[in-house]
């Protein structure tokens, strides 16, 4: 059997206590919520914290308040199952519940949290392997090695952003609150992610994600399309999050098109947004936007499916997302 390494487990009751514990633990500390990503990674020795600080008992991080008028604040320790079932989220931000329902399996959604999904480690077929396997290829730069096996001449790591809610939050214009012993700050979801498989977050390891803010909804409509092999379990190997805000006459006032699962960070395709804004949605414009997304999607051979086919899927998936919004 695969076994967890030994580690110290701490359970703070308040955010201030949690960030203090993290400051004390230093670089060997990690926060954990549902543990559905961290613990398997620890069994495979991909992540090896000495101190694990649970955020599951932080009551402050378990509430949802607000509505479509005011915008809502979501506590990141809320389980994905609760997100799927939450009446306000289903009524006012249904795309969040829809995307959450596509994550993994019912059992893992019972444990996994929305915050954990937003901070999910990047994934790669050369990295998400156990210790002995990785030793077989002499490791990779993300852990214990110094090469990127997907792109051996690359100076950077190409592990893939693989959380379904990430492109959705970027498309919705969400912001998150990060807290540490040094203070707190608000960051846009778009600004949270970094296009590097190792340092994939603009968040310091000692910072704790404590709140997720969604802006007032206004007339915005949103949709999320996920490409994966099977109807359960699988991480996205392409995720398309799209939002549209249209005037009464159908002219697009605002649009966002975000691709997940094809790079270390979510990709905002501003070219595609530009094609749509100021115009009515017709087949030609939608096809042009899909083409722009296709050009921006540059997946590599480190997930399920052939990379070339994954790239090609950007066209029909974006097109289908836009058709659903029309």
């Amino acid at each position: 059997m695969m076994r967890l390494p030994k580690f110290e487990y701490r359970v703070p009751r308040e955010i201030s206590e949690a960030v203090k514990m993290m400051a004390d633990a230093g670089p060997d500390g990690m926060f954990v919520a549902g543990g559905t990503d961290l613990y398997p990674n620890m069994k495979r020795r991909q992540q090896t914290p000495k101190t694990v600080i649970s955020v599951t008992r932080l009551q402050e991080m378990r509430a949802i308040r607000g509505d479509a008028e005011t915008g809502i604040v979501i506590g990141p320790s809320i389980s994905l199952t609760d997100i799927c079932n939450h009446p306000v989220i289903n009524r006012d931000y249904p795309v969040v519940a829809e995307a959450a329902r596509l994550i993994s399996t019912p059992l893992l959604r019972n444990m996994g949290t929305i915050g954990g999904n937003l901070l999910l480690d990047t994934r790669c077929n050369y990295y998400d392997q156990n210790y002995e396997w990785r030793k077989g290829i002499n490791f990779c730069m993300k852990k214990d090695g110094d090469i990127c096996w997907v792109a051996p001449s690359s100076p950077k790591c190409w592990a893939v952003q693989s959380a379904d809610l990430v492109p959705v939050m970027v498309a919705l214009g969400a912001r998150v609150k990060l807290v540490s012993t040094l203070g707190e700050r608000m960051v846009t979801a778009e600004g949270l992610y970094n296009d590097d498989g190792i340092n994939y977050l603009h968040k310091r390891p000692d910072e704790l994600l404590t709140e997720i803010h969604l802006p007032p909804r206004n007339g915005m409509k949103a949709v999320y399309k996920k490409l994966r092999r099977r109807g359960a379990f699988d991480f996205p190997v392409l995720g398309v999050a799209a939002t549209l805000d249209r005037a009464e006459d159908g002219t697009v006032r605002d649009a966002r098109l975000i691709l997940g699962g094809v790079a270390p960070a979510p990709i905002r395709v501003k070219e595609a947004e530009g094609i749509l804004v100021g115009h009515k949605l017709d087949q030609e414009r939608m096809a042009a936007a899909a083409e722009a997304c296709y050009l921006k999607a540059r997946p590599l051979d480190n997930t399920d499916f052939l990379m070339n086919w994954r790239k090609q899927m950007a066209r029909p998936f974006v097109l289908r997302a836009l058709e659903e919004l029309r």
Binding site: M2, W133, G136, R230, G231, A232, R315
Partner: protein, 813 residues
Amino acid sequence: MATNNGDNEQPLKVVGKPFRKVDARAKCTGQTLFADDITLPRMLFAKLLRSHVPHALIKSIDTSKAIALPGVVAVITGRDLPIPYGILPVSQDEHALCIDKVRFIGDPVAAIAALDEDTAFEAMDLIEVEYEPLESISTIEDALSIEQPRIHDYGSGGNIHKKVSLEFGDMEEGFAEADLIREDVFFYEGNTHLPMEQHAALAHFDADGKLTLWSATQTPHYVHRALAKTLEIPASHIRVIATPNGGGFGGKSDPFNHEIVVAKLAMITGRPVKVTLTREEVFYCHRGRHPVLMWVKTGVKRDGAITAMHFRSLLDGGAYGSYGVASTFYTGALQTVTYNIPRYKFEGVRVFTNKPPCGPKRGHGTPQPRFALEVQIDKIAEELGLDPVEIRRRHLVPPDSVTANYLRVGSNGLGECIDKVVEASDWKNKFQKLPYGRGIGLACGSYLCGAGLPIYWNDMPHSGVQLRLDRQGGVCVMCGSIDIGQGSDSILAYIVAEVLGIDPFDIRVLTADTDLTPVDLGSYSSRVTLMTGNAALQAAERARELLTIAVAEKLDVPIENITFAERRAFDVENPDVGVSFAEAVQLAEAKFGTIGTVGSYTPPRSPGKFKGAGVGPSPAYSYSAAVVEADVDPETGIITVERVWIAHDIGRSINPALVMGQVEGSVYMGLGEALMEEMTYRGNRNVVHKFPSLLEYKSPTTLEMCDVKTFLVEDPDPNGPFGAKEVGQGPLLPIPPAVVNAVYDAVGVRIDEVPASPDKVLKAIREKAQGKEGRYGPKSVPEVEWPAPLKVLTPAEGGDGRELPREAAHMKD
């Protein structure tokens, strides 16, 4: 077999009824003890250090740091277990721990026994192994062309393990008679069993020095033999208990290194030693479906009658022999048992590569050629303007006949199977009539009901049953068979209950314990229901005979009047006159002494006498036909199988609920192979397995499983107990070809390889849109120097099943 239905013809009370399994309650409530659930006092935990290089000489192994780690009790290497073993007598090419060479990533080189698993894991990193890397071989093409280095120093030269060439009948004449000759090339990717339960084993030497091994194995008898050989202790001092398998599918049919290793560590330490493999290690045990590249040339008359078939298969065997020689023959054996093939030539080659060894997976060596054959027939039907149903239906192998390659076919319900699925699926209104993007496809298949010959040559029975009846009315069935979830324990209870007129849940079933149960060769080749069933039937009939004599005497009625039902033995003409079953046993025990009977089963001799005739013969053949309806998304190439209609010729269902479970399970596994499953490696990255995990090795979930409509065709076979044939493997065979035939009907492209992943389908659709062929699949097979064929005249040509003498064969040339 005296009679299949008991001496007194009366309606069956147990056979044919959907009783629950005898072990169902324990399984459903989590009380079944699997190998990993067993613990013993002072037990140690073992880990195997496995090679992380694909092909290398071992220069040195330094275990001193590991043995010095507190908590480590013993460390062993290949030198401690120098004797080779392997499932087939001709392929004794494995060592429990590699001695001088490693052959794939995952090949074990050392083993540790420690007080706990964490310590054993930690100690693995302290063992220093110095390797001298060798060039690695990762494809069939490489193995055929690279002579040096050799992965093994035996076989047919270079990295070729085995070559086979058999010719039945005058091929030239056969092709000359044909109105149409088609040559096609196909590829079937390798895939693995993916049992829920990871392999586990526990070894213990008792106070008087005898070994007991509990193991999740499908073949305790062969493990027993391998332990005696490698440990150099008498077989009579070894007891192997096969624990209930949490799924096997062929993946637990070899003796495994971890079983031998824990036995050796228990011997050295004097303490019980357990190992439970990680999921990754299960991928390395493998023994799954061989990747097979196939070329098939078939000649047909205008009405679709086959005049001759020439079939070539090239198997990627991985790093060891395993069942590979048998697998190679199986890729050429069962082509002839569905549609009449009057002349037939088979050439097969298996190569070694630096990957986990392939072996038997559900259908063992036959799903690959069946895929090729059923897709090619579809192409032939189209070229001849025939309906795919008619071309198959018209040319079925007749019952009670002998094929060109000397397989004796008994009952054959394939025609009825085809009729059932064609009617139920509304084939006539759907084939070539559904809108673009939706299609329907048909395919058939056939499988053995047990291999006709044992793995090692001997004249003893393949299955034995002992029955003990006690004066309380208790009945204990003892048999070496092993329940891997298919329900073999239940089958024993049902058959004995039927014969003795008692309830199956009155019976105690004791199986798979080499100390307590007579030998059964194991749960492989779909042999268990037919062979243990016949042995159980014989033992039960013998017991009933003893009881009948004693009861007839007591009741003073003629022997032929005594019948058994509802836990009583009574006069069939005067049912009130009788005794309880327990009294019947008491009467018999008083008259004859302790009541114990035995039964055994040996398959009938095959008519084939040529070298290579050992693979393919079976007491009976099951048949299946399936229609698949699928949607194909032309923009993505994604296939969604909407529905499967499948009919299976079971001979007779001992338990229809279990039969349907096996049919649906086969459909599920077949869909996985057709659509997504693949054991793939990165040849340019040290031949690592691409994704040895349950998450990334893609196998369908319940969400991908479609509706299945199952029909059972019951045409009792004279060789089966109550007429029963197999169901564990056969129904998988038609699924992959039916899927790609449906894809062709949906979007007009041929996917001549599985898995039919969406990238392949989309590529073919795009090519077709550009006016090209619209096909995805291999273009050719590599050149092989085939040996001169062993020639056998067919039965129709007056052959006697023996090969022609070489000189005569040459003269014929």
